[in-house]
């Protein structure tokens, strides 16, 4: 669920579309846009304080086979919330391994790669100090 909440817009649906998985469902809770108040801590480790809100879309659905899927995704993304809830529900069915292989694994790999690229760019800006001759000889 954490993976789907942060995935790029539309990407999960793109990966899901070619899978041959039946996805009939009824809404338990229609997609709804709202906010979550993000908290920080004073000094990083002290008392919590309110930092500001973040937009979030949530929904819940029930597959015709009965499994319930929930989704909370960052941003205003009703379509992505639907896909995320559908995947959450399908992960409780026989289709779990297919969805894992077809959607979740590649999504995790893409997001890991994007983070790794950023980390390598940051690493290239790491300062290497060297000491000049101090003139004591």
């Amino acid at each position: 669920m954490g993976l789907l909440s942060k995935s790029p817009k539309g990407r999960a649906a793109e990966l899901f579309a070619p899978l041959n998985v039946s996805a009939e469902f009824d809404w338990v809770r229609n997609p709804e846009i709202g906010s979550v108040m993000v908290r920080g801590r004073a000094g990083g480790t002290g008392a919590p304080f309110n930092l500001g809100e973040v937009t979030v879309t949530r929904c819940a659905l029930r597959l015709s086979s009965g499994q319930v899927g929930h989704a909370y995704v960052q941003g205003r993304r009703k379509q992505d919330a639907e896909t995320a809830a559908l995947i959450d529900a399908l992960m409780q069915t026989d289709a779990a391994s297919e969805v894992q292989r077809g959607v979740l694994d590649p999504l995790a790999e893409e997001m890991r790669a994007a983070k790794a690229t950023r980390a390598r760019k940051a690493a290239a800006t790491k300062v290497e100090f060297f000491t000049m001759a101090r003139g004591e000889d």
Partner: protein, 363 residues
């Protein structure tokens, strides 16, 4: 006599139509897309998100477009939109020690674990206009280096080990007071002050912070650590019964280390100021940390020396640019009746003074 008047509807409509045309500018120049603003004006987007108190880069970019680049107007639009959203809940406090850092520097320790990582900074640029940017949009190739998996502990943690710096611990995890849900009332505890400061106007906060450096509150601050990067946001989901990641945000965190001679209640040690702001907003985060430290005089047993930055009422009640601009700009709206009354009063006073003068001259 009060005379109710109506009018100006057509003038207002026409003014708004003209505003839309002026916003678009010369139509022979390509129109800016919201995506372009989000990607290429990203620090403006970050400012609008932080002072608008709503993390949503698409909305902030739209607000900047709509406001013709007037960032306070854009912040106003975001604040107004924010009030229309149902709130699903509050997150677990974010863990900045776990940040994926784009930038992480310390001005106090040269060789710190994790190193000094400059990131995409304006520092060390020559501040000369780059006319190549006007000519073409090419970007240089960015170098990469293998990233070591290395922890980046908070700098203040090292000082903690020697007991040289005050600890930032708080056992209570009670939900903090929220000034978006209740009026800002004094005395404000540190949590409430930090909320007010993180959404405060960058210019105001910078000015206040600068005043403490120039001597109005005697706080010599070092940037113990400045880090910019992404952190996950987790929230407890009642229908699931556990916490999940609901997103990821980019934040700037600044911890200052301030010299402290000791007071009646505290030993000589270093004290801390804290800044945490949405987006890549380091000027604001450093300013926030300095002002936070100045406002802590009471809990550290320092004297109130009358500095503006120590005065919570002064700082917190004037730091919000939407409140400020709302009150300031309302005076340009029709005040015909108020002014009529003032006019009558001044005329009356003048008549009285003139009458007295005539009387005196006659004597």
């Amino acid at each position: 006599m009060y005379v109710a008047v109506k009018g100006g509807e057509r003038a207002i409509e026409n003014a708004h139509a003209w505003l839309a045309e002026e916003r678009r500018g010369d139509q022979s120049v390509a129109e800016l897309s919201v995506d372009q603003i989000r990607e290429q004006m990203s620090l403006a987007v970050d400012r609008v998100m932080s002072e608008g108190s709503l993390y949503d880069p698409d909305l902030a970019a739209l607000a900047i477009k709509q406001s013709r680049g007037d960032l306070i107007e854009a912040i106003f639009l975001i604040r107004a939109y924010r009030t229309t959203l149902p709130r699903f809940g509050g997150s677990e406090p974010i863990d900045t020690a776990e940040m994926d850092c784009d930038r992480r520097i310390s001005a106090t320790f040269k060789d710190l674990p994790g190193g000094q990582v400059l990131g995409p900074t304006f520092d060390y640029t020559h501040r000369l206009l780059d006319f190549k940017l006007a000519a073409d949009g090419e970007t240089p190739e960015v170098n990469e280096r293998p990233a070591e998996i290395e922890a980046m502990p908070h700098v203040t943690g090292f000082l903690n080990r020697e007991g040289l710096i005050e600890e930032a611990v708080d056992a209570s995890d009670a939900p903090p007071r929220d000034l978006t849900r209740e009026p800002l009332e004094l005395p404000a505890d540190r949590s409430l002050r930090l909320q007010a400061l993180t959404r405060s106007d960058e210019g105001f906060t910078l000015g206040m912070a600068y005043s403490t450096q120039r001597g109005y509150a005697r706080n010599h601050a070092f940037v113990g650590e400045l880090r910019i990067g992404t952190v996950p946001v987790e929230m407890d989901i009642p229908e699931l019964g556990f916490a999940i990641e609901i997103g990821e945000i980019n934040v700037t965190e600044c911890e200052t280390i301030n010299q402290f001679q000791g007071s009646k209640t505290e030993p000589p040690q270093f004290t801390r100021g804290y800044g945490l702001v949405f987006g890549q907003t380091e000027r604001k985060a450093i300013s926030m940390a300095l002002v936070d430290r100045a406002l802590r005089w009471e809990e550290l047993g320092e004297d109130f020396v009358g500095a503006p930055a120590q005065d919570a009422e002064f700082v917190l009640y004037h730091a919000d640019n939407i409140q400020a601009t709302g009150f300031l700009e309302h005076i340009k709206l029709p005040h015909y009746v108020d002014f009529q009354a003032e006019l009558e009063l001044v005329r009356k006073l003048r008549r009285e003074v003139q009458a007295e003068e005539t009387l005196e001259a006659a004597e």
